[in-house]
Amino acid sequence: MPKYILTINKKQHSVEADSDVPLVWVLRDYVGLKGTKFGCGIASCGACTIHLNGSPVRSCQLKISTVPATAQITTIEGIGEQVLHNVQQAWLELQVPQCGYCQSGQIMSAVALLRKTPDPTDKDIDTAMAGNLCRCGTYERIRQAIYRAAKMEAEVVTRDK
């Protein structure tokens, strides 16, 4: 079986797996990082959203053989490791999760959005978050939490100036 080197949350992992195993299952069942969730297998629900070199991708569509060893993979476990990320903090302040199963993916999409667009509009949020389903129906709180996180980010920037 082929061996692959993956860089996940800044650490290198060596994984022996078939070339077509989707990254979501590699992360969960081979590397043991279970924060990334499986929901649909067709990139329709966003529960498996991770960052590949900083961009949000659906890991159910990413075969292990297509991920170079140099690619930076970031999962929910890799953001806010020491101190909660502002997005996670905002998620807690607004008490966003109900069951929480989709929220790893929601948070990964939101972190990527704010990195590119620190001051997002409703439309920006719609575009960035439309790929993440939540059956519990937490969308209104997700929107408010993204605004809150953006504000927290802006306050830090102002203070540092």
């Binding site: 299952w25 008490q95 999760p97 199963y101 939540c134 059956r135 969308y139 929107r143």
Partner: protein, 723 residues
């Protein structure tokens, strides 16, 4: 927004084991009698009772939660009822999820019952424990208990402010009898109940650390992907697994069975060292099914056709006030209409999954996301033909459920396979399995008749037609009986409507083999659609505003207040611009009244949703923020149910199989949502489901108000109302 808490990073908030056995232990038996189970006292007690409250001499406090969490927050709201009366801060308490053993009593999260059923028993347990601790303290001080009070896990002397911690009192308290009628707090004395509280479990849910059913890892486990018959009930004829066995990681294939509550379906399992290999193996299977006849019986058109035929005939009467039919015949101003709701799938984002280990000694351990640990324990024992003491249940967090994970088919599949293989087996369904195999909310037809006179709605008949959960699943409905579950909820007396001339509730059971089951709010969402759209239509026929027309026939003060509050919060009496309209609906389910107002505006051939406001009267409640969150979630799920495709069986096969063809609402489609909670001291009602039923009819009525187009069949394509 909620107040910031410095201690959100609590990793030990929920534990799964490690109950202390020393100290003060207070329990409840099946009849809600309070019992002292402390070591000093326990010898005299029956063994099958376990404590709900454990206070150690080291001042550790543990509370058992007997209601699994599917996102509705029971993991905290249930223990909160004990903590309130016990005078302890929830942040200093360890919560343990019960494991299904009968000594914990009923443990199913369902029927929106967790708070309303445990409101008195658990508060009494907390209050009785507090009274024992106060008595112990007063004994030590040789003063009257009335000279003491409890606060923050300590008992204080009123005269000099000195105190004992609970831990210091447990030894003395454990020798006392439990007061059976402790004094409960009044609403105005509550410190926890009725306030917005942060959920401590959310930290793990935003960091990826929370362990859901899908995340269970048991040493030595193998994975199973299961091929179910495309027509659900096809009989297995032959398996060719030659291609499947070539896939690296695939260990074996074997015939399996999916045991539903009333029947068993054939299936084929592929066992592999990882799930991806198992699922690839499943795709590579070549299985022949005997699906004879299923192409005609699993078919929406065939079923709905029979429903419409039944609508032309009299149903079985559930109740009648005066002679409705004769009054209807002679009425000058009347309506006779039908309303349709589709089959719906629950689609929790976490699909069905369970891990089971049947051991050589016949015992079994289960790790699964499940709503009912007690029911699962008994069902698994029955299924494997073992005694209940050989079953150990580990309740995992549910990644959504909405009723689905109270159905134990996927758990019994894991048991079946592990029983054959005697290693831990983890079953994971695909989204395709989840959507195509059911069970579903039943599609129902409402045949409505009603009449108006002098500007008032005076006569009303609701004839519900379709498959019954009680009948199909539980074989509990005789052919000559009206479904009592549906009858009671569709009765005008449930919604406190008074039709002064006549009313009638009737039922026809049109059977189908399309599998049905409870789905968030059970029958209430089906009933609400016909009822509240029809009331709206009768109001227009009477020449009355739909809100005024409802107030005319609503006798109950609570219902009236909910409606007038909704009017106030939505500026209901302020005119909207041309092309915009408001629709309202009010329903009662699980003891809770919810009214919803939707504002919609014409857009092309359809409408866009501007805003949704719901007002909920659930009586007294535990966590204001949870009540809001659940009602927000019900609005989203209610809109999805109204405007997204339903489940359609076409010649034996479900036409939907994933979120691309069975879409649910997305954030970009979500309008502004507001929720208001009525404050009163009424007994608690259910919160997890009651917000859903009024949403679809409020939308249907809003569409009519905005466009003049009346939609009577769900789902509605709101982008194109003309076809």
């Amino acid at each position: 927004m909620l107040a910031e808490s410095p201690k959100t990073n609590r990793r030990d908030f929920i534990k799964t084991s490690g109950l202390a056995t020393l100290g003060l232990l207070i329990g409840l038996d099946a009849k809600a009698n309070l019992l002292n189970l402390s070591a000093n006292n326990a010898a005299a007690l029956p063994v099958e009772i376990n404590p709900f409250i454990v206070i150690g001499a080291d001042n550790t406090i543990t509370i058992i939660n007997p209601r699994p969490c599917m996102g509705q927050g029971t993991i905290q709201s249930v223990p909160a009822m004990i903590a309130e009366e016990l005078e302890v801060d929830l942040e200093n308490v360890t919560i343990i999820q019960s494991d299904g053993k009968s000594k914990y009593g009923a443990q199913t999260s369902g029927n929106s019952s967790s708070i309303r059923r445990l409101w008195l028993p658990l508060r009494k347990a907390g209050a009785a424990t507090k009274e024992m601790l106060i008595e112990a303290a007063s004994g030590k001080w040789s003063i009257s208990p009335t000279q003491c009070y409890a606060e923050n896990a300590k008992v204080f002397r009123k005269d000099n402010g000195r105190s004992f911690t609970y831990g210091e009192l447990v030894e003395a308290a454990s020798k006392l009898n439990v007061p059976q009628e402790p004094v409960l707090k009044q609403k105005h004395e509550f410190k926890i109940l009725g306030k917005p509280a942060r959920r401590f479990d959310l930290h793990d849910r935003v960091t990826g650390k929370a362990v859901y059913g899908l995340d269970i890892d048991v040493p030595g486990m193998v994975y199973a992907a299961i091929l179910h018959s495309p027509m659900i009930f096809g009989k297995l004829v032959s398996i060719d697994d030659s291609e499947a066995m070539k896939i690296p990681g695939v260990i074996k294939t074997l015939p399996c069975e999916r045991t539903m509550i009333y029947t068993t379906a054939d299936s084929v399992a592929v066992i592999a060292s990882n799930w991806w290999a198992a699922s690839k193996g499943r795709s590579a299977l070549n299985v022949t099914w005997d699906e004879n006849g299923l192409d005609t019986t699993l078919d929406n058109k065939e079923y709905m056709g029979r429903c419409y035929t039944a609508a032309k005939k009299e149903g079985i009467r559930f109740e009648e006030f005066n002679d409705f039919q004769s009054k209807f015949e002679t009425s000058q101003s009347k309506l006779d209409l039908t309303y349709e709701t589709p089959f719906l799938s629950h689609v929790p984002i976490e699909p069905e999954t369970a891990t089971a280990h049947v051991k050589e000694d016949g015992s079994v351990e289960i790790w699964a996301p499940l709503q009912g640990p007690g029911e699962t324990l008994e069902e698994v024992a029955r299924y494997l033909n073992i005694s209940t003491d050989k079953v150990k249940i580990h309740v995992a967090l549910m990644g959504g459920s909405f009723g689905r994970k109270a159905y134990m088919d996927f758990i019994k599949e894991a048991c079946f396979l592990s029983n054959k293989l005697k290693v831990p087996v983890k079953v994971i369904w695909t989204r395709d399995d989840d959507i195509r195999q059911g069970p579903y909310r039943p599609a129902l037809l409402s045949h409505m008749q009603g009449f108006v006179k002098d500007g008032k709605i005076k006569g009303y008949h609701h004839h519900m037609i379709g498959e019954s959960i009680l009948g199909q699943v539980f074989k509990g409905l005789a052919d000559d009986k009206a479904d009592p579950w549906i009858g009671e909820e569709s009765s005008p007396s449930n919604n406190k409507y008074m039709f002064i001339e006549a009313h009638k509730v009737s039922w026809t059971n049109v059977k189908t083999i399309i599998p049905v089951m409870w789905w968030r709010s059970v029958n209430a969402s089906n009933i609400g659609w016909g009822q509240e759209c029809f009331i709206d239509e009768l109001a227009h026929l009477a020449g009355k505003d739909p809100l005024e027309a409802r107030l005319d026939i609503l006798e109950d003060e609570r219902f009236r207040k909910v409606l007038t509050t909704l009017a106030e919060k939505t500026n209901y009496h302020q005119k909207l611009p041309q092309g915009s309209g408001r629709g309202i609906a009010i329903t009662r389910a699980f003891g809770t009244i919810v009214a919803c107002c939707i504002t919609a505006t014409k857009s092309g051939h359809g409408v866009k949703l501007d805003s949704i406001v719901s007002v909920i009267d659930c009586g007294m409640y535990v966590n204001a923020d949870t009540v809001k969150a659940q009602t927000e979630g019900n609005i989203i799920m209610g809109i999805t149910a109204a405007i997204k495709p339903g489940i359609v069986f076409n010649k034996g096969v479900c036409a939907q199989n994933n979120f691309n063809n069975y879409p649910i609402l997305r954030i970009n489609e979500t309008p502004k949502i507001q929720v208001y909670i009525m404050e009163n001291a009424e007994a608690p009602g259910g919160v997890g489901e009651a917000g859903l039923p009024p949403v679809a009819p409020a939308l249907g009525n809003a569409i009519f108000a905005a466009t003049g187009i009346r939609k009577r069949n769900l789902p509605i394509d709101i982008t194109n109302l003309i076809t």
